[in-house]
Every structure is written in structure tokens, then in C-alpha cells.
Symmetry: C2
Subunit: 188 residues, 2 copies
């Protein structure tokens, strides 16, 4: 792990355990065996650090899923892929996702804008896939914005309750979401 990664990992560990507000940079430096001044080589404030971690996580967890999904031509298959991969990502990044989402309001406007652009791209990917499905005559007339949020919420909420000790259920879980979203729970 490079030094920067090591700092991100340790900082996130402390943010999860103690809370973002209660973790000063000096505490992070100490846990890494560094002088606080040493951290300023990597970022200029705690807010900067929070932003870098958030951006790193998006690049690691969300952006590759979007890039792969964007290559899938069929909108139904694209949505299936997004459900499966996004559910898996939500299952495994639980504690850090909670902190990052909760603290997004602490970011400077320009940093928040960068983060929001990724989420917007993600939302648009769902919403545009629903528009394509409709254009193909495959889906009902439905409010596509609300349906996209319904789907994102369904997958995303996983990180609030899923027991990460049960990763063997990952496929059954995303299959359930897919079935619910495409065809609902009722018979015929």
C-alpha cells in the first residue's frame, strides 16, 4: 500500500470509530506514527482529506461499475448489471459509506460539486436506461425519476442492515432486487 492509501485507510478507520468531527488531524498523524506537519505533504486540511477519501472511494467502487455498465447495449441487461454490482458494492463498504454520506455536507462547495457529479452520472445512467426501455416498448408508463430513485434506494439501503458475514447471500439478494424491480412480488 502506498503512503497515501495508508493515510486514507487509517483516517477512515478513525472516522468510523470516533466520528469525523471528533478525529483531529493530530490524532490521525499519531496513529500513523507521523508528525502532523507530515500530513500536510498530502493534503492541506481535514476537509481536503475527507474529499480525497470520498473521491478515491468513488473511483474505486462506483466509477468502474458505471464504465462497465455504459458498455452494455441492452438497457434491461444494463440495469441487471447495475443492480448486481451496486448491491455488492453497498454490501461490502458499509461503515465507510455511512460516514462519507453523512459528512458530505462538510465538504467545500467545489468538492461537493465534484462528488455530486459522480452521483448525478450514476443516477442518469439508471434514468436513461429506463427511458431506453420505455422507447423499446418494454416498460410501463412510469415516473422514471422516481423509479430510478426507488431502485437506487433499494440497493443502497443494503449497507444499513446487511450482515457482511453473510456475503454468500450476495447473489440471492441482488436477484431479489432485480425480480422486485422488473416484475414485482405479485403473481401474474
Amino acid at each position: 500500500m502506498d503512503r497515501r492509501e495508508e493515510i486514507y485507510e487509517k483516517a477512515m478507520e478513525l472516522f468510523i470509530a470516533e466520528g469525523y468531527d471528533r478525529t483531529p488531524l493530530s490524532r490521525i498523524a499519531k496513529a500513523l506514527g507521523l508528525a502532523k506537519a507530515g500530513l500536510y505533504h498530502y493534503f492541506s486540511s481535514k476537509e481536503d482529506l475527507l474529499f480525497f477519501i470520498h473521491e478515491r472511494n468513488l473511483k474505486r467502487d462506483l466509477i468502474p461499475i458505471m464504465e462497465s455498465a455504459e458498455k452494455i447495449k441492452d438497457p434491461e441487461k444494463r440495469i441487471s448489471y447495475l443492480i448486481k454490482e451496486y448491491t455488492k458494492a453497498s454490501m461490502t463498504r458499509d461503515a465507510s459509506a455511512r460516514v462519507l454520506i453523512h459528512e458530505v455536507g462538510k465538504l467545500k462547495p467545489e468538492h461537493r460539486k465534484t462528488i455530486n457529479q459522480s452521483w448525478r452520472r450514476f443516477f442518469d445512467l439508471f434514468r436513461n436506461s429506463l427511458s431506453e426501455l420505455e422507447a423499446l416498448g418494454k416498460s410501463k408508463k412510469i415516473n422514471k425519476t422516481f423509479a430510478a430513485f426507488a431502485l437506487i434506494g433499494m440497493c443502497r439501503w443494503t449497507f444499513y442492515w446487511f450482515d457482511t458475514g453473510r456475503m454468500e447471500s450476495a447473489n440471492e439478494l441482488s436477484d431479489t432486487y432485480e425480480e422486485v424491480f422488473f416484475r414485482g412480488i405479485l403473481k401474474g
Copy 2:
């Protein structure tokens, strides 16, 4: 508003604006024009206060929905009712819900247990309704635990994105959730 309510409202306002960790009791007392000692008439610590607010919100927002839902005999109608009311509640209590959910780990074990009991009752209401639907032959064979979480996540996530200035969309939103959950987005 009675004094206790006034304290809860002001405390929540500060927790939302400043964060729970960064709001000492002395700050809350000052905002209320009280001596800090005056607050100890109502609770014995900040953790106590957080618990009382959480419990008050559940009693105000969640428990009446459950009680009304439990009186509805037909499981499909019961689920419709839950979707509609829970979505509405998630739309309007956005900022305080974020704080309370995020800070639940700060509660003492016995307080957390009390809060979790209400959420467990809520989850069971969804899950049992799905079991009843299945027993009536109305629903597909589906993992009912996962489906219940899917539905809760769909409704709950609303508070992360919904613009409370658009409350006129409340019915369209819960109708979309209901349609997705019962019948899915695909045609035929």
C-alpha cells in the same frame, strides 16, 4: 409547545446545523436561555437527550403508522398503506432522520435496544405481510426478508434525495413505489 418539546426541537436544530458531537449541552442551554443545570431536570446526559428525541420521533412518526397498519386485514392493502405513509414520513422528516440514524451507535446498549425493538416491529410488519400474501397464493416465491428490506430501503432512501419543496408529488411518488414493488416496471 411544552418545555420538553421545546428542548427537543432546539437540540435537534443544533444537531442538524452543527452535528451531534459538536453540540455540547451548554450550547443547547444557551440557545434556550437556560442554565445548563436547568436541562438536568429533563435528562441526565446528552446521550439521554438523544435517546428521548429518537423515541419521541418514533412515537410520533413510526408507531402510529404501525398501529393503523396492524388493523388492516388484507395484507396487500396493509402494504399499500405502509408504503404511502412511510414514504410521506420519510419525505418530511429528512434532516432529523439523517442525524438520528447516523448517531444511533452513540446510544447506550439499553437505549439502542429500545429503539431497535421499534424498527424490528416495523420490519416484521412488512415481512409478515409478505408471508400472508404468499399464504393467500397472491405472491411469488421470493426471499421475504430481502423483499421487505428492498421495500423499506426504497421508501426510506427518499429522505436522502427528496426535495421537500415538492410535497405535491407525495402521492405520485408512493404510487410509483407501490407499482414497482407489486408489479415491477416491465410490461406483461
